[in-house]
């Protein structure tokens, strides 16, 4: 049973990662920087609980705040960089953050041993959960509480005018401008929200794995972040969740039956999915079909 709880934890955290990319992708910005905001949330909240003895919830809050602030800072220069160039720029930024943490040392002595991030070694002994007697099931529920809250928030945004404006900007930003949309405000706000979500995810990640290092936040993770919403479909938050379950579920199942071939499968899976369903699992047409099934309620 513990195995399934562990899997659910992983799915929960990855869903948050995917959702952080989802909101940014709506505005037409392809950001490979979400893993960087994830990393910042992870390191900051872990440092607060381990080095400063904070409780987890405010620590995650600060991690989210710093993730959001960094994302906001990235959001402004990102406006000047168009289309595919943004992919490269955010990729480079993400790598820069990773290299920063690769070189980051901050240790203090606690109870006779040194704790804290140690460059390439990473940050070990993030033991908030075990030290406070949380069971695997409780950790899983805690993670999912955040995941569900974020999904609810995004679902609400999707139904509001802000959501329609986000998508309008993603469709045609010149037309959006011409109907009075302030592109700067919309794009930067989306990026900031994405940064906050990634920061939350990172904080949760650091504490359930108890050990983070720079390589946990590499280009691969950055591409996972955008893969989930793209493969899942950008029409609905559930698409992202579905994609995470599909990918992680498949990978983990693959682990059991096919041993080491699971990583091979991931790449092939993406290529296949994109060829068969370029607009993702839950694209607008599919959603419309589902809506009709349920009696034609407005989507």
């Amino acid at each position: 049973m513990d195995f399934y709880y562990g899997l659910a934890q992983l799915v929960g955290v990855h869903t948050l990662l995917g959702l952080s990319a989802y909101i940014v992708l709506l505005t037409g910005q392809v950001s490979l920087a979400q893993a960087a905001f994830f990393a910042i949330g992870a390191y900051v909240s872990a440092m607060l609980t381990v080095l400063a003895g904070w409780h987890l919830v405010p620590a995650i809050g600060v991690g989210a705040l710093l993730g959001a602030a960094t994302a906001c800072g990235v959001g402004f220069p990102a406006l000047r960089v168009k289309g595919l160039m943004l992919v490269i720029a955010t990729l480079a930024f993400g790598e820069g953050v990773r290299i920063f943490f690769f070189n980051f040392d901050y240790q203090i002595a606690k109870g006779g041993i040194k704790v804290g991030p140690l460059g390439g070694e990473g940050f070990r002994q993030i033991r908030f959960f075990p030290e406070n007697g949380w069971s695997t099931a409780e950790v899983m529920l805690f993670i999912w509480m955040f995941a569900l809250l974020v999904m609810l928030m995004l679902w609400w945004i999707d139904r509001s005018r802000y959501g329609a404006v986000l998508r309008a900007v993603g469709e045609d930003d010149m037309a959006a401008q011409s109907v009075g949309v302030n592109l700067t405000a919309v794009k930067v706000s989306a990026m900031t929200i994405g940064g906050a979500i990634a920061g939350i995810g990172g904080g949760l990640y650091a504490h359930y794995t108890t050990h983070i290092e720079h390589s946990s936040f590499n280009v691969l993770v950055a591409t996972f972040a955008i893969a989930y919403p793209i493969v899942g479909g950008l029409s609905n938050v559930l698409g992202t969740l579905l994609a995470v379950i599909f990918v992680q579920g498949f990978l983990v199942e693959g682990l059991r039956d096919l041993g080491d071939w699971r990583n091979l499968l991931f790449g092939a899976l993406i290529v296949l999915a994109m060829n068969l369903r370029p607009r993702g699992f839950l694209d607008a047409a599919t959603l419309a079909g589902i809506a009709r099934l349920f009696g034609g309620r407005r989507a």
Binding site: S160, R161, A164, A168, E171, V179, R298
Partner: protein
């Protein structure tokens, strides 16, 4: 209401608009015509704030627009349609109009929270009016990309109106329309004037221009070569030369 004084826009060596003087009075329907490449669309883009001016000034309601960005010009009351339709294809007709609910009147009526995070109920009345006006009420849940061409043009117009503009820039709205559709467009433009909207109409389709405008300016190579009522312009030899070519044709 709108004044262009010695407006120029150069792209490298190309003088798309060169020393243009134009004046549009409040409540009028002003036409802008000229052969291809004469600078009509560039003029619209300059008024809308898409590019900066190389020189000259544009005054709206007496105030210099300066370097005001496009979305702020909308707030000031200038809306436009696009020559090549630029709808939000993956959004429904209703959502296209919803996104454009951005006028100062809206802002006065509803607070920040309601406008951005609220649901659809608050604006149903206004949007219903727009749908009524453009005959799209029955298609409000359809994705904009799935509309027929004529319907898309009507949505484009409706969306520009959603922001309750004082000045409406129409960039070749009749392109690709048949006579019946042009007649309907003419009616719609005239009813807009009755509601107090000033209109600058850039157009090639003479059927529409001659039948709906109060005054027309003719551009050629970025400069104004004639101005006057439709009758005056039609009779002008300069205009004929510009369209049909001079001696060396």
């Amino acid at each position: 209401m709108l004044e262009l004084k010695q407006v120029s826009r150069h792209f490298g060596g190309v003088r798309a608009v060169d020393g243009l003087d134009l004046g549009v009075k409040e409540g009028e329907i002003f036409g802008l015509i000229g052969p291809n490449g004469s600078g009509k669309s560039t003029t619209v883009n300059l008024i809308a704030g898409i590019f900066p001016l190389t020189s000259g000034t544009i005054l709206f309601d007496g105030a210099d627009l300066g370097a005001l960005p496009t979305h702020r010009r909308l707030q000031a009351g200038i809306a436009r349609t696009f020559q090549s339709i630029r709808l939000f294809g993956q959004l429904t007709v209703w959502q296209n109009l919803w996104v454009a609910q951005n006028s100062p009147a809206d802002r006065a009526k509803r607070g920040f929270y309601a406008r951005w995070l609220g649901g659809q109920s608050g604006v149903r009345a206004e949007i219903a009016q727009l749908l009524e006006f453009s005959g799209l009420a029955h298609k409000q849940e359809e994705l904009a990309a799935n509309l027929a061409f004529g319907e898309q043009r009507r949505l484009e117009l409706a969306r520009a109106l959603a922001a309750r503009p004082k000045l409406l820039l129409l960039d070749e709205p009749a392109a690709g329309m048949n006579s019946e559709e042009i007649a309907q467009l003419r009616e719609r433009i005239l009813s807009l004037r009755q509601r107090g909207v000033t209109i600058l109409l850039v157009e090639h389709v003479m059927e529409l221009v001659m039948g709906v405008t109060d005054r027309i300016a003719v551009l050629n190579f970025g400069q104004k070569i004639a101005e006057g009522t439709p009758a005056e312009v039609q009779a002008s030899p300069m205009v004929r030369k510009a369209y049909l070519g001079g001696e060396a044709a």
